[in-house]
């Protein structure tokens, strides 16, 4: 059995190879510097007092006893943030955005989730800080909470924000509501489409709140120098994002803030939001000392940003031959305390795998008393795929049709117009389905008791801004600096694209991630964008280097630049074979021909290539306990071009594993008062290697026409299909159709009792 396959269309010299990662030695020897390794002289430790209530009005905060506690240097509340001293008139249209951002850091009038920051203090050490925290007295008026998305949508639900009204595509609702936004898109004639169908099926689905589960907790160290410069060392997916948030909340120019991104111990979307940075900054300003904060695991669960829970209704009509005639979905997602769930991304992704003439999707972004949700790999798409791909499996069962044949019949391809209106360019879903159909796993005979499921997934992938600067050293080694934080091996994949473009060895490019003062604006490492967009910046910067190298050769040979060409790392005269330099030979001449060469590029590219994945999974289900074991798992994905196939395989396997956890184990449990009851890794059960089979991978390469090497981006599509694939496999093994996640042993047993099978 082949566990990892790469189905390549085009071969390159460096791109597509598997070199060692530049940060590998430091990471495996423990020398890499993470946020908590930052220890400036005189650093104080901060602790945050958090609301014990999911919904409460803050009547008063008395910090006097904590301020008097020996070793405490400063205490802050929302009154210390600029928002407290600005009127609604002064802020105008900025008011609501700043209130939400400021209150998310430190609550001013209401606590909106258990764990909501109420106050913070800085002390000489963490123990003193912890002790003093207990001396802060807060008087609350406890309010009724709501932590279920459907309950929160009801007219009589407790209002999270008394002034929030539904934004219906630019039209504001006439009364307060927890529904922040509603969007609807349609194409074709939905009624006609369903009328033409031979079979119409419709069901409702729910998914639970889940966490990204990154190993490293949120941490930050801030030092507000007496000259006004604020420096922040932190663990983040986006140093410029942190800079913008902190500058916005503190009402200072972005150039006054420098963010130094440390190595990052996992993010998956959860480390885009800045939680501790502004708090530490204000404490530092008050004390004149550096201030560090580190969340506990419980704080990470209760007060960072999980992925939203969802409710979905899906309806699909098909002809007897399997051709889809109409699709419809309503998707509601909870945003937590402040608006911003990925419900609208979910409606874009829901049916993006299919070419169907008639469709309608509605999305609802709903606030409730949970921590404000954050991005989590392909935000919104996994939930939508669970619903859509589960219903398609039911339809395949009714039609007695092979699930991959059904999907091939209806697959989106180049030219397919999606429901929101965009037309697909060259995409690789059909190739992924064919690779899955032809895979040894799909053809393998099923032993008794094993159920097999398949599902598809989609993520659009993104572009956005990236910057790269490359400097040619006199020994011919190129120093490459970038603003993209390295989560999944992007130092290597960006260096590979630079080396490929320059025609030099991978080892001759030294990539470094730098702070916000040292490079142009670079958007987050997220959205499956970095290998694509920062890769494009590296390619353009390399082209800049090449043209300058040609210019130097022209100077040396006293000839015109047009007479010189740069081919595969060689600078040569077009008509005189004797005149040529290797890259290194010419680099040695730079000092005497005008000095060092730097190439640079800032890009904001379009042309991102959509990503598709198809997963096959086998499971067994213990009939006595209801426990599901995943016995075999194959992940197929179109990478466009896998720059470093090992890291692409790692992304595919990582997404699949997180999806398995999402499918079978993971959920926030809330008690009747709306408090999370399992905020530890002991009780929030993520899969370990002992729970999993090897995840086999097939990298399909259908080149993205929007990138010189065909790169699409790979970090997200792999988490989209697993939940539906596993649900479909559980159905095949047990006959129970599971429409709520997670598919716990208890739920399987209950389904059996309801079906009278157990």
């Amino acid at each position: 059995m082949i566990s990892n396959q790469v189905l390549s269309e085009v071969e390159f010299n460096v791109v597509g190879k598997r070199p060692l990662r530049p940060d590998g030695v430091d990471k495996v020897t423990g020398r890499a510097q993470y946020g908590d390794d930052t220890n400036l002289t005189g650093t104080l430790r901060a602790k945050v007092l958090r609301s014990p209530h999911p919904h409460a009005r803050i009547k008063s905060i008395d910090t006097s006893k904590a301020e008097a506690f020996p070793g405490v240097r400063a205490v802050v509340t929302a009154k210390d943030l600029p928002f407290a001293s600005l009127s609604k008139d002064e802020l105008g249209g900025e008011y609501t955005a700043l209130k939400y951002a400021s209150d998310h850091m430190l609550a001013s009038d209401k606590a909106l989730f258990k764990g909501h920051p109420i106050a913070a203090l800085a002390a000489v050490n963490a123990h003193v800080a912890e002790s003093a925290l207990a001396l802060i007295q807060v008087e609350y008026e406890v309010l009724k909470p709501v932590v279920d998305v459907r309950e929160a949508m009801k007219d009589d639900a407790p209002l999270i924000h008394e002034d929030l009204r539904t934004n219906d595509m630019g039209e504001t609702g006439d009364k307060p509501s927890n529904i922040a936004t509603h969007m609807s898109y349609s194409t074709g004639d939905i009624d006609k489409g369903f009328a033409e169908a031979d079979l119409v099926m419709e069901n409702e689905y729910t998914t639970a709140t889940v966490h990204q589960g990154y190993i490293e907790p949120h941490n930050t160290t801030a030092f507000w120098n007496s000259d006004g410069q604020l420096n922040i060392w932190t663990s983040t997916q986006g140093s410029f994002q942190v800079r913008g948030t902190v500058a916005g909340v503190l009402r200072i120019p972005v150039s006054q803030v420098k963010v130094i991104p440390m190595e990052i111990g996992g993010g998956f979307g959860g480390k885009i939001t800045a939680y501790l940075d502004a708090i530490c900054a204000v404490l530092s300003k008050k004390t004149g000392a550096p201030v560090k904060a580190l969340m506990t695991r419980t704080e990470v669960f209760e007060a960072s940003g999980p992925a939203p829970a969802s409710w979905m209704r899906v309806k699909i009509g098909v002809k007897n031959n399997g051709k889809m005639t109409a699709v419809e979905a309503e998707i509601a997602m909870d945003a937590g305390a402040y608006p911003g769930s990925p419900a609208m991304q979910a409606i874009v992704c829901a049916f993006a795998c299919y070419d169907v003439e008639n469709g309608k999707v509605d999305g609802y972004d709903v606030v409730d008393n949970k921590p404000k949700t954050a991005a989590y790999r392909a935000p919104g798409s996994p939930q939508a795929a669970f619903a859509v791909e589960s219903l398609i499996d039911e339809i395949c069962g009714e039609l007695k049709m092979d699930p991959i044949d059904f999907r091939l019949l209806n697959a989106a391809k180049e030219g397919t117009r999606r429901i929101e209106g965009l037309v697909a360019r060259r995409i690789g879903l059909v190739e992924c389905l064919e690779a899955a159909r032809d895979h040894d796993h799909y053809k393998a005979k099923l032993d008794e008791g094993i159920g097999r499921g398949v599902a598809c997934g989609y993520w659009p992938n993104r572009g956005f801004q990236s910057s790269v600067v490359m400097t040619v050293n006199y020994d011919g080694v190129v120093s490459l600096i970038m603003g993209s934080v390295d989560i999944g091996g992007t130092r290597a994949s960006i260096a590979q694209q630079a080396a490929e473009t320059l025609g030099i060895a991978y080892e001759d490019v030294k990539p470094t991630v730098v702070d916000t003062d040292s490079i142009g604006y670079t958007f987050i490492t997220g959205g499956s964008r970095t290998a694509f967009a920062t890769g494009l910046a590296a390619i353009n910067a390399a082209e800049d280097v090449k043209s300058q190298m040609v210019s130097r050769a022209a100077k040396i040979w006293d000839t015109d630049e047009d007479d010189i060409e740069y081919v595969a790392g060689i600078v040569q005269h077009k008509s005189d074979e004797e005149l040529k330099f290797t890259f290194k030979d010419l680099a040695r001449q730079l000092a005497t021909t005008g000095g060092s060469i730097s190439g640079r590029a800032s890009v904001d590219p379009t042309g991102e290539g959509n990503g598709y994945a198809v997963h096959i999974v086998d499971v067994t289900v213990d009939p006595d306990t209801g426990k599901t074991d995943v016995t075999r798992f194959t992940a197929v994905q179109d990478a466009g071009k896998a720059v470093h196939p090992s890291y692409v395989e790692g992304q595919m396997q990582g997404g699949a594993v997180q999806g398995i956890g999402w499918a079978l184990n993971e959920e926030y449990f809330f008690d009747d008062s709306g408090k999370m009851m399992n905020p530890t890794f002991l009780d929030y059960r993520m899969p370990t290697s002992l729970d999993l089979p090897m995840i086999d991978t097939v990298i399909v390469e259908v080149a993205n026409p929007g990138h010189p090497y065909g790169v699409r981006g790979v970090g997200e599509a792999s988490i989209v299909p697993p939940m539906a694939a596993i649900g479909n496999a559980v159905h095949a093994a047990t006959g129970h159709r599971m429409r709520s996640l997670p598919i716990t042993p208890g739920r399987i047993l209950e389904a059996g009792w309801e079906n009278g099978r157990s």
């Binding site: 630019g170 979307g269 999305g363």
Partner: protein, 88 residues
């Protein structure tokens, strides 16, 4: 003429028209033309002079990175779609 696809929720302002053709060289002109044809539609698409934050404009399939200043071709397709970020 550029082909402008009207989002479903705004078709009540266009008497049900799903697509209209306008003469425009950039997004700003597209919206001004739409406002002339369908008064009130601009407020549904624009906030403080910019495209509303939960919307993105796609021109011939590419998200318009320059917002209101983005150029529109003679035969371009223009869509108003949900803005999308990402998590990895």
């Amino acid at each position: 003429m550029a082909k402008i696809f009207i989002p479903t929720m705004l078709q009540s302002l266009t008497a049900g028209a799903k697509q209209v053709d306008v003469e425009a060289r950039n997004v700003r002109q597209v919206i001004e033309q739409l406002e002339v044809l369908y008064p009130g539609i601009k407020d549904r698409l624009v906030e403080d002079g910019q495209i509303r934050p939960n919307l993105a404009i796609a021109i011939d399939g590419d998200i318009a990175i320059m917002g209101m200043l983005e150029k529109v071709g003679e035969n371009s397709e223009v869509h108003f779609v949900p803005a999308i970020g990402g998590g990895r």
